[in-house]
Symmetry: D2
Subunit: 308 residues, 4 copies
């Protein structure tokens, strides 16, 4: 089974968790969804993240989702979100998913952390808990966690723990942090892979700043795939053209809370999952919101046609 490394790149789609209308796990849709993501060009997946409704799953369900996704993914790397209020739960889930072939685990800091040393100490505890042989993705998402990690603090963590091989970058504003990381590497610090989240809303700039790819769940993974590929080839104008065509919907999908309803609506519409249902509690799309999304999709299709 593949492990992520500090050289990992490309598009790791943040997968949703499919549910039936009654709130039960829709295991039938998992294979279909996994296939959909890879058909659209994903290099790997990330499951059980915030947008994967992970906190709504029991531990048994979490492992079931991981097992099925890993099996269907075959040799493709799958990262598993294991963030939890306590280290014991992180260790327990990490062991379970690494045993069945996960490529690494992703950990966001708990929201009570404040000082630099508290953040540094937290990741030391995480690495000790999961074991230094397990590749870790550090999720840097202050808008959601409330924890601000400066470039300096991030650097101290990276230097201390070689097993933290990847940063899920979604600080906002955060372009400078990518530049800071790459400049430190140019001066000798070990490399980390940087995959960008934040709903993809800064992907062209992030790629030019030195990111290695995307890790977000926009329901048109082909956008991320194309922007990353074109950027890596230095075809920045074309990358931006593709990005611009999707941006109106991307912006709409980035609304906190509501965004997941948009994402699942589009995935269901595209046939990737059977139902847009979220497990309770979740926000639903009003009729007006559905109309807005439909109009944005229609315009998006027109623009994409014009591009080709």
């Amino acid at each position: 089974m593949p492990l992520i490394t500090s050289d990992s790149q490309g598009v790791f789609v943040i997968a949703v968790t499919p549910f039936n209308e009654n709130g039960s796990l829709d295991t039938n849709s998992i294979d279909r969804m996994v296939d959909f993501y890879y058909e659209k060009g994903a290099d790997g997946l990330t499951i059980l993240g915030m947008m994967g409704e992970a906190p709504k799953l029991t531990q048994a369900e979490s492992i079931e989702v991981a097992r099925q996704t890993l099996k269907r993914s075959g040799s493709r790397p799958v990262v598993v979100g294991v963030s939890a209020p306590g280290l014991a739960a992180i260790g327990e889930l990490t062991k379970a998913v690494m045993d069945i072939g996960a490529a690494g685990v992703m950990v966001a800091p708990p929201s009570l952390l404040r000082t630099d040393d508290q953040i540094i100490g937290y990741y030391r505890n995480v690495v000790e808990t999961v074991g230094s042989d397990v590749p870790v993705v550090l999720q840097d998402f202050p808008l959601s966690t409330g924890v601000q990690i400066s470039s300096k603090t991030l650097g101290a963590i990276i230097e201390a723990h070689p097993s933290i091989v990847m940063v899920k970058h979604e600080d906002w504003p955060g372009l400078q942090k990518i530049t800071d990381l790459r400049e430190a590497e140019a001066k000798g610090r070990r490399r980390v892979s940087i995959l960008c989240g934040n709903a993809g809303i800064f992907l062209p700039e992030e790629m030019q700043r030195g990111a290695d790819g995307a890790m977000t769940g926009f329901p048109y993974p082909e956008m991320m795939v194309d922007v990353c590929r074109l950027s890596r080839d230095g075809r920045y104008e074309e990358a931006q053209d593709v990005f611009d065509a999707y941006l109106p919907l991307m912006r709409y999908e980035q609304q906190p809370g509501l965004g997941l309803a948009v994402r699942k609506y589009v995935l269901a519409k595209r046939g990737a999952i059977a139902s847009a249902a979220q497990r309770r509690p979740g926000m639903a799309l009003s009729a007006q919101a559905v109309a807005e999304v439909e109009k944005l999709i229609e315009r998006q299709e027109r623009k994409l046609e014009a591009l080709t």
Copy 2:
């Protein structure tokens, strides 16, 4: 002097405060900037808001900026931000600016408020402090204040205080709140004017949901003017076309903290102010960020040309 009312509509530009490179107030640029905003079609201005670097001004400077802006604006309405940790300061500045012709004052809730009743009580105190004859804009901006005002709570405040004539709407997600307000009015609640902030990032949808216009500081006010005008005329597709052309830059300008540097950079570039300088403390644009902005502007101009 004009006062804002619950029927106010159009574009109220959130004005920046121009500084010289040494951090002193650039009073020469104020007239030029005011003229620029009106030339681009603004219906009014809002000064001393968060993006106007208001907390960096002394009280004397605040009043000086207000006086000059009001004078130059002539018969156009100018709203003044008076948010402060204490009611006394709110009352003091409100009196000063209403005396010299402000059209109303804008108040965001202090970040300690939590329960619905605390929020309702706060606005009761505000209205009692400034006097019920002063038109008040309630700024609903949870991302910045941390205070979440539900539609129900907002309704209770509106019903209790006729002098709260306008909502600066920048909840995120917030489209449903516009719908909720308008539906309550359809059932008999008094009307409030809704002008939208949030950097303009949802303006087309907001106008279709029933907003009366925009109150934000995107440095191309003509975008807001056109989107609002076309939306009012029911020409939604054209409104969206204009919006889409500006969206990549708008998205870039929406970065918290950094956004003001982008905004002032563009305004200086467009000749509206002499310098992009911010008074300390402020974020500066790196060379890379400048290059990114320039490229976005260049692409934007190309798209606008294609539209006409």
Copy 3:
């Protein structure tokens, strides 16, 4: 097996979780500790709360601790803390512990809740998740959760859900809330049991305001037992005399984070558990802190002697 009801009263000690020096669960100490609490007069226990290091336990360990505590407690009621970021985990743990004889479960609101309706909606979801036949303790602890529940909102929740039979009261300041609850009951609202936390620091006033007892983990449960008993007998001066003798240590033990180290130090010193060790991460007592605690205990003993 007994269930808690809205008439429950007395002292429910918040139990610590005993660990060995190496961080493993010290199951040997559990029986000893349970016996200690009951010997000192406890009417029941509450386990897996914040001060029970619950987030540091795996799910399997949590259930093991619950099973052993329940067995040793025999016919005494044991409440189990099941707070978690997601409803699924709450439901999963609730089912597990109710099946083996828990007297009820305790749920604190997740820290993201802000508006009154969000809080009300949350407890509706909790009751639906655990089932309306499971007695629930609502933990109202804003200092820790950041969620402020007004008396009005608390009342709406109590009215909606008869299965919420108890409030763990630790708002600060919070005396008025007890008065509000009891006044509403005098006017016809159904009764809830109110047991007070907050390290016991307001216990005499809380009992006089109408509380039914204490639910906190001060390592001298006999203090809570005596204060509650004397208060119920109307012997308020004597209750306050006992309280005052313990107050200097109680105040010291109330320090967030450090308090658990003090608590475990005293419990180990008193022979209730074998070791004061906390599972990582945890704060340790410095030599100076140990000296401070020892001096406070010494003075406390002298004062208690003088009382008798």
Copy 4:
């Protein structure tokens, strides 16, 4: 006029601001209150702090209060709280009060600061704004500000700015921080004065850890005076005896928000101010709360008698 220095010690009482029942400034009470504090043994005062209702004063009123307090204090040092959301207001008020004889200014960090470097940068800006000749008190009060300053960060600030001569210490838990500061000084770092707040609730331990005195507003300043004096003389048991006699009321007065009502009630009762009125918005004492306070005072007097 005296300035505070890094050798300042003793008791600086946090003064309330007296208001008339109608909410206007009660300037008559200011002299009386100032005299009261000094008669009870205060070495200096601190005005316009959070508990001085500073945010409820207009700028003109703030300066008036400062002027009168300074005049009445004669050669005694008076520190003025100047915390504000923006540097300009801090600079403006600092200049005004230093010109009329303040001994220094006190600045708490604004609640948005998160990373160590943001905090360090903030105090650099403060010192540049007020001028390095103005003695500054750094108020370290995370419970209120939400900003956590580690010992390391505090050390970096102290090393960078000799004009920050004093720390108002009210971290919770915070005893270790005093030890950390003193240990760093033993190893060569320059000395800072440490005066303790937190309602005095840890004063005996703080003095033994190396604090120089108290800076809080407990309405029996003689408690602080005695505890500090006895502690400096090494008579720790007697210091603790005095402290213990006042502790039940001190604990009651420490309730956030409500505490100020208790404080003013006692000060009015003792004749230090004419009215316990707070300017709006403020919490009032219910009849039950008044009865509780009265009982605590009565018991306190009995205990003090027994001590002598």
